[in-house]
Subunit: 286 residues, 2 copies
C-alpha cells in the first residue's frame, strides 16, 4: 500500500482504477472562489497541480496535451489570426498558440484567476508568453463570454476545460457549441478536449453529434497519450464550420511531441471507435 | 487512500508513480517454478493476471497490446508462413497471429506452463486458437530454443516478454537478437515489446541499436496506448533482416484496435524520440 503522506492518489470511481504520484512537498493549497487548488512537488513528474483533487497537469507530461490541443488545429486552419482559448488557465495552450507567427491575437478566458496565478508561480515555463504583445487574458465565465462575442470574431476556439462535471458541464452543451459556431469566422475551427477513448467513447461521440447538430460541417477526433489523465490515453475533438480542409500546413516550431507525422497519425481511428460511429449511423439511417 | 483489501496497486518505483485496479475477488494464486502467478476479478477491467506482482494483462485492455504485437508485423511481411512467439504464454498473440490465413505454422515458446494453464482457465477467449491445427506450444527456455533452431526457420519472431529484469533480461541481449537474426528467413522480421516511450526511451534506443549491431538492416518503432502498463503508453520495436518494405498488406480480419490507418499511424515518432535518435547519430558521427 501507498503511504498517503508521500503519495497523491486520484481515484476514477466509475472505472475501478486509480493513478498515484509520489510527492516530496506540498507547495501550495487554497480554496479559490471556484475550486480547491493544490500544487505539489513530485519525485519524478516535476510539479503537480490539482483542481478539486483531480490532476490538472504535471511538469513531466503536460507537453503532449498542450501541443495536441493547439498545433493540429492551428496547422489545419489556412491562416489562423485570431484565437480564443476558453479555460486553459495554466497558460500552456496560450504559449503553444503564440509559437505560430500567423497568430495576431490570442485571448484566454478562464473563470479562476488563481489558477493562472499558481501557474505563473509554480509553472513559469508555461507562462513565458503571457506578456507577448499578442496575448490577452480575461478572468470571467467562458460560456457568457462567447455568448456575448461578436459573430465571426475568431478563426479558432480552443476549449481547454476540466471534466464535464459541475460548472464545466456547460462547456459540453449544445448551447455552448452553438455560441462557438456563431463566434467563429467562416472557415473557423473549434477544438475541445474530449476525455479518454477507452473510458469515455460515448462522450466523444455525443460531443461530436452535438457539434454537428449546431451546424459544424465535419468533426475529427485526435488521439494522443496522456500519462496522468484517466487511462493514460486522451482525445480532442475538432469541428469545422466550413468543412474539413484536405491537408494541413507544415510549420517550423519547437515542439517535444508534435510534428507532421504525429499530426497525421493522431487522426487514425481505432477500430472499436469506428464501430461506435458505424452503429450510430446505421441506427440513424433506419 | 485505497483499501488494500479491495485494490491491487502496482508501484513503478523508478518513476514515482503507481496504478491501482479495484478488485472483487481473488480467483487464483500460486508460486510456479518461475514466478508468483495471481488472477483476480476486477470491477471494471475484467480479469487481471499478475506475474511477480506486475500487471501482465487485463480483460479490458489487452486487445491493444496483442493486436499491435502481431498485425503490423504480419501485414508488413509479404507472405508470413512460419511464426515463432517467444514468451506470450497467455496465448493472446497466438490467437491474433492465427487470424492470418497465410500463416501455416505458429509456434509459441514460453518458460512457464502455468501461465498458459491460467490463461486457458481464466481468459479462455485468448486461448480460443490453441487447438488450431497450425498452432503448437512448447514450455521451455525461449533463448535456448532460438539458439538451437535451424537457421532461416521463421518468417517472423515475436518477443512477447515481461520487463527486462531477472530471467527476462536475456530476451533483450545482443546474443539473443543474434540468434533471432539467424533463425529468421531472408526477409524475416523480428518484433519485440519495448516498454514505455515516456519512461524508457533510452531502453527503446539501446534495443534497436543492439538489433542493428547484429545485422538487422532497419528498425522501426510502433507506438500505442496501453492503459494498464506503466505510463499508459507503450511501444514495440521491429527489426528487418532484409530492409524495411515500403508498404504493408491490407487484410480483412476482425480487430478491436488495429486497422490500416492505425498501422500507418503507429509508426509516427514523437519529436522527443527523434531528438534521441538524432543526438545518438551525432555522437556516433564525431
Amino acid at each position: 500500500m501507498l503511504n498517503s503522506d508521500n503519495w497523491f492518489t486520484e481515484v476514477y470511481p466509475d472505472e475501478g482504477s486509480a493513478l498515484s504520484l509520489e510527492l516530496t512537498e506540498k507547495l501550495h493549497q487554497e480554496q479559490t472562489p471556484w475550486q480547491k487548488l493544490e500544487v505539489y512537488q513530485t519525485t519524478k513528474f516535476g510539479r503537480l497541480m490539482l483542481l478539486d483533487g483531480c490532476i490538472m497537469l504535471t511538469g513531466r507530461d503536460n507537453f503532449i496535451y498542450h501541443e495536441m490541443m493547439t498545433h493540429p488545429v492551428l496547422c489545419t486552419h489556412p491562416a489562423p489570426q485570431k484565437v480564443l482559448i476558453i479555460g486553459g488557465g495554466d497558460c500552456g495552450c496560450l504559449r503553444e498558440v503564440l509559437k505560430h507567427p500567423e497568430v495576431r491575437h490570442a485571448h484566454q478566458v478562464d473563470l479562476d484567476q488563481r489558477v493562472t496565478w499558481a501557474s505563473e508561480k509554480f509553472f513559469p515555463e508555461l507562462c513565458e508568453s503571457n506578456n507577448d504583445r499578442r496575448a490577452s487574458l480575461s478572468f470571467t465565465d467562458g460560456v457568457a463570454f462567447i455568448e456575448q462575442a461578436e459573430e465571426g470574431s475568431y478563426d479558432i476556439i480552443i476549449v481547454d476545460s476540466v471534466d464535464p462535471v459541475g460548472q464545466a458541464a456547460r462547456l459540453y452543451s449544445k448551447e455552448f457549441y452553438q455560441a462557438c459556431y456563431a463566434g467563429l469566422s467562416e472557415d473557423g475551427i473549434l477544438i475541445a478536449q474530449s476525455e479518454s477513448p477507452l473510458f469515455h467513447k460515448d462522450l466523444i461521440h455525443s460531443m461530436q453529434s452535438r457539434m454537428a447538430d449546431v451546424g459544424f460541417k465535419d468533426t475529427t477526433t485526435l488521439f494522443f497519450p496522456q500519462c496522468t489523465y484517466p487511462s493514460g490515453w486522451w482525445s480532442a475533438s475538432m469541428a469545422f464550420k466550413a468543412g474539413k480542409p484536405l491537408g494541413f500546413r507544415t510549420v517550423d516550431i519547437e515542439t517535444e511531441y508534435y510534428n507532421n507525422d504525429i499530426h497525421q497519425a493522431a487522426q487514425a481511428m481505432p477500430q472499436f471507435m469506428r464501430k461506435v460511429s458505424r452503429s450510430e449511423s446505421t441506427s440513424k439511417g433506419e
